[in-house]
């Protein structure tokens, strides 16, 4: 049994580390590319969202490398992700890629026992015993958390650094190192080194960079091809930003501590009182952090046709009209013309800068 799963940001790095540790092989699909996207969309249904098309291509390329079993997460809706596996199977079967499917469905759909059975199926070929597997899981979880801490720090320091581009460089170097690491211990070593070098970069404490919240649909937030590398672009522009959604956040919210997710759903949010599927509520709650923590603006990213995020966008539209909230919604599709995206982001940042300066002159904030 040769396993694979579709790419999602850096998930393949973590997956590789985990399976390596328990003595199994994971086939990693080729990186997302324009050609791959074209191949994926040529056999996908027409109105499906962007992640699906990329996943089709991922699974074809994994098939060509010899994979035969797909691990696919699924939910019980109402977002489209839950039905992805069903349609992926139909599309791929029709074109001769006859995979076996292991569907990691939510407990509410299949029950705990069935889920356990499916999880056991994944590690069937491994020689490790359960304590070793738990140890590996713990190790990978630490790697994810540490790497995300590093990314978080870099996103903030990119606005303050004296030598532009240093923080970006450190994160990218660390990511390359992790992708090559042969064990979890080595990965942790790489992370520690990167943390140290990020801590030692020169920082200009008097700078007042634009601070932004980056939020939106989970796939485009996590996958750098899906969002046209928006993070690196923002870092290049010398913007300090915070991203609310990441793989580690998702793991915390759904697997490690489902109660935390439950309570955050119950938390009162006057702009979106109920969870409507997807992560629209989390997107909208960015507004509270914007107000409390002195951010300058919000960037919301979503793939075209994403149903929950359209509701979030509508809420943002209303707020930007009524409450003067600076928010930029960027909708991504198969188009690769990056110039348009860059222009819009630049114009938004310029607008925020001007706004900030105006506020400074009015004496609302302390000026040095």
């Amino acid at each position: 049994m040769r396993l694979t799963y579709p790419r999602l940001g850096d998930a393949h790095i973590y997956g590789r580390l985990l399976f390596q540790e328990i003595g199994m092989e994971l086939i990693i699909p080729d990186p997302n590319s324009q050609r791959g996207l074209e191949r994926g969309s040529s056999i996908s249904p027409e109105d499906i969202c962007l992640p699906f098309k990329l996943m089709v291509d991922n699974l074809i390329s994994a098939w060509e490398k010899g994979a035969d079993t797909v691990i696919m997460p699924a939910t019980m809706g109402p977002c489209r992700l839950g039905e992805y596996a069903e349609v992926l199977k139909v599309v791929l079967d029709n074109h001769g890629y006859r995979y076996n499917w292991i569907l990691l469905d939510s407990i509410s759909a299949v029950g705990l026992n069935e889920l356990k059975k499916r999880l056991a199926l994944i590690i069937k070929d491994s020689n490790s015993n359960s304590s070793e597997i738990i140890k590996a899981l713990k190790g990978v979880y630490t790697v994810i958390k540490e790497f995300e801490k590093l990314e978080k720090k870099a996103r903030i320091s990119s606005g303050y650094e004296k030598q532009p581009g240093r923080s970006k460089e450190i994160v990218n170097k660390c990511r390359r190192g992790l992708a090559r690491a042969t064990s979890i211990d080595q990965a942790l070593g790489i992370l520690e080194k990167s943390h140290n070098s990020l801590n030692s970069i020169e920082i200009d404490e008097f700078k007042q960079p634009i601070k932004i919240i980056l939020t939106g649909e989970i796939f485009t937030c996590i996958d750098s091809f899906g969002n046209h590398n928006i993070e690196e672009k923002l870092m290049d522009m010398g913007v300090s930003f915070e991203k609310t959604i990441s793989i580690g956040w998702w793991i915390d919210n759904t697997i490690i501590n489902p109660l935390g997710g439950y309570f955050s759903n119950k938390r009162f949010n006057e702009y979106m009182p109920y969870c409507i599927g997807g992560y629209a509520k989390e997107t909208v709650s960015g507004i509270y952090r914007y107000k409390k923590q002195n951010f300058d603006g919000i960037i919301q990213i979503l793939p075209v046709g994403c149903m929950p995020e359209i509701v979030a966008k509508s809420v943002f539209d209303g707020l930007s009209r009524d409450e003067n909230l600076p928010v930029l919604s960027i909708v991504f599709d198969e188009m690769v013309g990056e110039a348009g995206y860059i222009t819009r982001i630049e114009a938004f940042i310029d607008m925020l800068m001007r706004r900030k300066n105006l506020n400074l002159y009015k004496g609302k904030k302390c000026c040095i």
Binding site: P78, R80, V87, V311, K313, V315, L319, V331
Partner: protein, 302 residues
């Protein structure tokens, strides 16, 4: 106090329930009436750009009502009567409408789980209390309206030469403005129409075998089940699927139906704000002609 009820989205599906409920409640109710061009234009103006046509039409209905009444009922349907969910936009409908039209007087916006009778009743009672309607009154109205949800739907007998299954979301298939009088047009051509309402619940459920997981959208379940059942029993000659442009759930439904029915002819009609009727007519006519020819050909062969 006058409550307005927009005749958009799932109003057509739950029409009997809604009418019965408000009649028993004894409040002054006004319905927004059938969709027309003015409503559509109002809707396009106020709605978020990325939304689909039915949502825009719904915004139009709300804008129309906001001039005529004090409160507008916008239901937040989380789960349907069989426990299926719908598109996420329905769960966030009050937010969508509020930020789109700027209308603040929305009522009955509590989350509705129609599959759980007590929960739904409580939600209605809570919402009605905000309007000053006592609980016993709401409870009585709800009890009598709830029966309507599961009451038998009408059966049609078909003696037409050609029978087509008209599938899609009820707000597309039943709103004659949105679908440009499709049903009348088909009837004029002498085509018999069946919809998913003609297929019983058990038959739909039986068709789910062979799927990896149980579908969780109402419209996926209804349309997929109906298409699969009707084609298996050879009751239809073709399928017309009405879908709105960029519909998230349909992108999946259509693919799954196509895979199930194999080579039964299926025409997918996409609806958007551009109501160019000529192109629409041509496609329907060509499709019906194709079915007629196919039928003749089959008759010759046998």
């Amino acid at each position: 106090m006058r409550i307005g009820i927009p005749e958009g989205l799932l109003f057509h599906r739950y029409e009997r329930f809604i009418r019965c409920f408000f009649e028993r409640l004894g409040v002054d109710v006004i319905y927004s009436g059938k969709t027309n061009r003015k409503i559509l234009e109002e809707g396009i103006k106020s709605c978020v750009d990325e939304a689909c046509l039915p949502i825009k039409v719904f915004h139009g209905h709300v804008s129309k009502l906001s001039k005529e009444c004090d409160k507008i009922a916008v239901f937040r349907l989380m789960k349907c009567e069989y426990g299926e969910s719908i598109c996420p936009k329905f769960c966030g409908l009050p937010e969508l409408v509020k930020s789109g039209t700027g209308e603040d007087n929305l009522v009955f916006t509590g989350p509705l789980y129609l599959n759980d009778k007590n929960k739904a009743k409580k939600a209605f009672i809570r919402d009605a209390k905000l309007l000053g309607i006592p609980a016993y009154k709401t409870s009585r109205a709800f009890e009598s309206a709830y029966k309507e949800l599961f009451s038998n739907k009408q059966k049609r007998d078909l003696d037409n030469k050609i029978v087509i299954a008209l599938l899609g979301h009820p707000y597309n298939t039943k709103d004659s403005f949105i679908n440009m009088n499709l049903i009348d047009k088909l009837k004029k051509m002498g085509v018999g129409i069946v919809t998913e309402e003609d297929v019983s619940e058990e038959d739909k459920l039986k068709q789910q075998t062979g799927l990896m997981k149980k579908p969780y959208w109402l419209f996926l379940r209804d349309n997929f089940g109906a298409a699969s059942y009707l084609s298996e029993k050879k009751k239809i000659d073709g399928i017309i699927y009405l879908s709105s442009f960029c519909c998230g759930t349909d992108s999946i439904t259509i693919e799954m139906i196509r895979n199930r029915i194999k080579d039964l002819p299926m025409l997918v009609l996409k609806l958007d704000e551009h109501t160019g009727e000529a192109g629409f007519n041509t496609r329907i006519e060509a499709f019906v002609e194709l079915l007629e020819r196919r039928k003749k050909h089959e008759a010759n062969l046998s």
